[in-house]
Amino acid sequence: MNGVGAPLCFFCSRVTVRGPDEGLFLRVSLFITCYNDTLFPETGKAVVRVLERLGHTVEFPAGQTCCGQMHYNTGYQAEGMPLLERFVAQFRGAECVVVPSSSCVAMMRDHYPKMTEHAGNAVLAREVAELLPKVFEFSEFLTKRLGLEDVGAFYPHKVTYHASCHGLRNLGLGDGPQRLLRAVRGIELVEIAGLEQCCGFGGTFAVKNAEVSSAMLADKTRAVLNTGAEACTACDNSCLMHIEGALHRQRTGVRTVHLAEILAGEP
């Protein structure tokens, strides 16, 4: 296998992508998440496109719905538990699970083990412990599981990256997403001021504390506009939906786009 990079990019022969798992094609189970499924199908399509372009197979367990994050984080722990069970039932036995949402992965990693422990369900706890190491946020799957930076993408736009809190702090994505972006052909990546500042979404926080959330959002949109970027990207559509909401309300013309959609870009 050494030295023989798989021809991952059929449209551009000079691009050869190599990684530690080179030549190993995986069966990827996609957990799209409830809100991406309903509100951001383009993100899901882009994930499929990128993974298939890299030679992997994508499966979609049809019974999947929601990870339970909204319930759990708002204080409805009891309601979150059946959703955990559902997730495990849908994805047990998966070779790997890819999730294009950093906060949903954070929910699973940070809280699933504790939830099963509190429930006193040893069998479920073991299943969760076995499953979790196979669950990856999308950018993390590319950079950490596959060891890739260049996925052969083309995206001729000026873009700024917003580091979603859960990706940054809970998952420790580091500069992985930026490394993926820097390898995109045609892109002009501009850094945003206050990269580590929360956009103010926070799930139900945005409606329970609407004024504070709005003020945080105003700081974030100002920072986005100051970059002069055409689009703001992130690993989490929930932040992007929030930021997009204000950018659109203010008629700024600046778009938001999930990282997967940039990485799916082709000439």
Partner: protein, 487 residues
Amino acid sequence: MSGTALDPTTAATFPMAARGLMGDTQLRKNVKHATDVIQAKRARVVGEMPDWQELRESGRRLREHTMRYLDAYLEEFERNFTARGGVVHWAADAEEARRIVVGLVKASGSNEVIKIKSMTTEEIQLNKALEAAGIRPYETDLAELIIQLGHDQPSHIVVPALHKNRQQIREIFKREMNLPDLGGTPQDLADAARLFLREKFLKVKTGVSGANFLIAETGGVCVVESEGNGRMCLTLPETLITIAGIDKVVPRLKDLEVLLQVLPRSATGERMNPYNSIWNGVDPARNDGPRAFHVVLMDNARTSVLADAEGRQTLNCIRCGACQNACPVYRQTGGHAYGSVYAGPIGAILTPQLQEMKFAQTLPYASSLCGACYEVCPVKINIPEVLIHLRNKVVVQGGPFKAEALAMRAMAMIFRSERRFRAAQRLGRIAETPLVREDGQGEGWIGWLPGLLGGWTQVRDLREMPKQTFREWFEAREASGNAGGER
């Protein structure tokens, strides 16, 4: 600014208080400036430490250990403190603590006291009790003096007057110290405070302090400060009364090697704050320090926090305020919105627990769960985790029939079945139709939502739901045998 004490039992809800304060642009500017500066200083001196994460881990483990063996360490402290000529008092609650302190001040024969900045005395509203008993308290920390003279309330654990700028402080000092010609630089203002308090330090016979740490092994007390007012208060008076939560104990003197490394760098962004005092009981032989030294060990609901397996890590807090500086919510509202002397993320978990969940139930929701607090916490308190835990308590308390609970259960019902989820996705597209309008680009957007969701559309639009969900697309593609080759 609010002259009434920050009292969680009477305070407005967080969203309401925040709404009011966020109209004060000067306050928000002051808070943002101050927290920006401290954060930058902290980042610099934390960056100097190659073993910062190891120190944090040791800090966490040390504090957990202390709470686990708290009874043994408190008794050890009491024994050693008493052996060195001090007197220990135990207070079950704020009321008892106030009564003890007022009694001790009266017994000291003084009708005035000099005070070191202490969050514990703020927590129990000691000054009000002293004044009611005819005792005049002089706050000696510069920020606390600004608060006291300005009839204001503290808004930060470490820098309680950070919501005031120099012009505002100058006005307070001009008025209260009767200095019409007072200059406006920070140096002028600090000099005025020095002169104002000098005589008090040298003459007042009774001091009141909090404590950063009580050392079980030696019976020693440690106070960390910057200005020297603390040293004045704990060295010069004849009687010193120290009030400390039972959570302030540390097992061994050696343990300060961890805490004195993480606390200053986290709190003020200094490698070490200008003054740390560590002393033991009384020392009449060397004429050093007060002749009478009392420590009041106060519970005030800390034991109920300790009894909660998930909430008890809150007691590990060493009051550095780093979480406040890092918190994007605190940075927008300042501290008064939290209706408690403990503001910011730590206040959002500590205050409701100290109220035994009877008050301050909106505080656990005063967070976007961004995790910046946890990241900077020098003893690794997982504040987001505790916030979520407390939210659950609030939900359980609220009962199953609140509108939110009903909606959440309905959502959970939907997510528990693929069929119901698909139906809801279809229904959502239909239900939103009357709200959707086209923008200039011909795309559908929602600019108004009803009820609680209206908070969203105050400043944000919402994209209409796409005509096809992801799963519909994926299934259509599979059915057409397009998988793998589809672009």
